[in-house]
């Protein structure tokens, strides 16, 4: 039984490529030879591909630098020295139990992110039951204002001090910092 044309049977294009590369099984080779006698299309393909194969042979391997190995070993030595004691310690760290797979960062990242989120939550959380140091007051227009207790205390102290500094401690005195020009 003859061979089906490799060009027309698009599922086997590699037969001709393998033939030109000298990789085709000898049994298939003889079948292909037989087929090519009656198939000008395959003959043309083989001729063109063989010519290409030979043309590609013109590109030979370039010589390798004699210092290649030395450079590589010095880079490896440099890296080993850079790693130092910590690197060697890290290399000897036990891996996951019952597994020789290396430690991977990817699964650790979501865990680290979750820990960070929880820490931030604990630090920023203020329980609702604890009263703040602010007391609500109203201004002259009845608007609610939040005033700090310490600030109120300081202001009261200042008023008391000014009262003591003002002449005869009169309640009508204007201000200790802006004395009346008539008294000068």
């Amino acid at each position: 039984m003859g061979m089906q044309c490799p060009i027309q049977a698009r599922e086997h294009p590699e037969v001709l490529l393998n033939y030109c590369a000298g990789k085709l099984h000898p049994e298939t080779t003889s079948l292909l030879h037989e087929h090519m006698q009656s198939c000008p299309e395959c003959r043309r393909f083989v001729k063109a591909q063989t010519a290409l194969w030979n043309a590609l042979d013109a590109w030979q391997d370039a010589p390798i630098s004699p210092a290649f190995d030395r450079r590589l070993y010095s880079r490896i030595a440099g890296r080993e020295a850079q790693k130092g004691v910590f690197g060697r310690f890290w290399d000897r760290m036990p891996r996951a139990p019952f597994s020789s797979a290396p430690f991977r960062w990817q699964p650790a990242m979501p865990v680290a992110a979750a820990c960070l989120f929880l820490t931030a939550g604990v630090l920023l959380y203020v329980p609702a039951g604890i009263p703040t140091r602010e007391i609500p007051v109203e201004n002259s227009r009845g608007e609610s204002l939040a005033v700090d207790v310490e600030q109120v205390e300081r202001t009261l102290d200042d008023i008391e001090m000014l009262r003591q500094l003002s002449p005869a401690g009169q309640p009508g005195a204007k201000s200790a910092t802006a004395p009346d020009s008539r008294n000068l």
Binding site: P13, E14, L17, A21, H25, P26, K47, A48, Q49, A51, L52, W53, A55, L56, A58, W59, Q60, D61, A62, P63, I64, S65, F68, D69, R71, L72, R75, I76, R79, D91, S100, A101, P102
Partner: protein, 208 residues
């Protein structure tokens, strides 16, 4: 009456056996490197230095860049020795690293002006193509021109097609292995190669 074994079947089996032994040997060497045997790394380098550098050279078309990338390939092999498991063929793993680095390098250099590589290669071609019997100046020039055309035709291929052709033609790799390196199916590799050779045949038809 005992059947005579055809010659090609015997040689094919010997070839397959040798390939299997080579695969096992590479894996064995790498496992020894993992266990801290530096001598085995030297042996691995000895065995694969040439193929990796030549492949990279044809990929990036610059010998200096190719050697620099090859250094990185072997450095990565050494760095990952601790996690090495012989699940895939060593050369597949090695060429996967090399291809990855080459494609990155090509992408990085694509925007650069003054692509010096082809000039570089033509000088190299002169040095390499001189056989024992001294060719005439005309023959030398013709070879240079042909080599330049081959290099340009290969350089003009899309990256994956170029990698597939170089592994198939110059590294003598099987379709399955190329598929392993390029992380695609075997049929995709066949299709890549068929299209790449079709383009090359059209571009280099005048050389036939």
């Amino acid at each position: 009456m005992p059947r005579e074994v055809p010659q090609h079947f015997t040689s094919e089996r010997v070839h397959n056996d040798m390939a299997a032994v080579a695969v096992e040997f590479d894996a064995e060497l790498m496992l020894r490197v993992r266990d801290g045997d530096a001598e085995s790394f030297v042996l691995l380098l000895e065995r694969h230095r040439g193929p990796v550098i030549h492949f990279l050279h044809r990929m990036v078309q610059n010998q200096g860049v190719a050697e620099e990338l090859a250094q990185e390939v072997f450095l990565r092999v050494y760095r990952s020795r601790g996690s090495y498991e012989p699940t895939a063929k060593f050369t597949t793993w090695l060429f996967r690293i090399a291809t990855h680095l080459a494609l990155n390098s090509l992408r990085d250099r694509r925007g650069e002006k003054g692509h010096e590589s082809l000039d570089d290669g033509q000088q190299e071609g002169v040095r390499l193509q001189v056989p024992d019997r001294q060719p005439s100046i005309e023959q030398q020039m013709l070879r240079e021109v042909r080599l330049g055309e081959v290099r340009q035709a290969i350089a003009a291929l899309p990256d994956k097609q170029r990698a597939a052709v170089l592994m198939h033609k110059y590294q003598d790799m099987e379709y399955s292995q190329i598929a392993g390196v390029l992380c695609c199916s075997e049929s995709a590799v066949k299709s890549l190669l068929f299209r790449a050779y079709e383009t090359l045949r059209a571009r280099l038809a005048h050389m036939a």
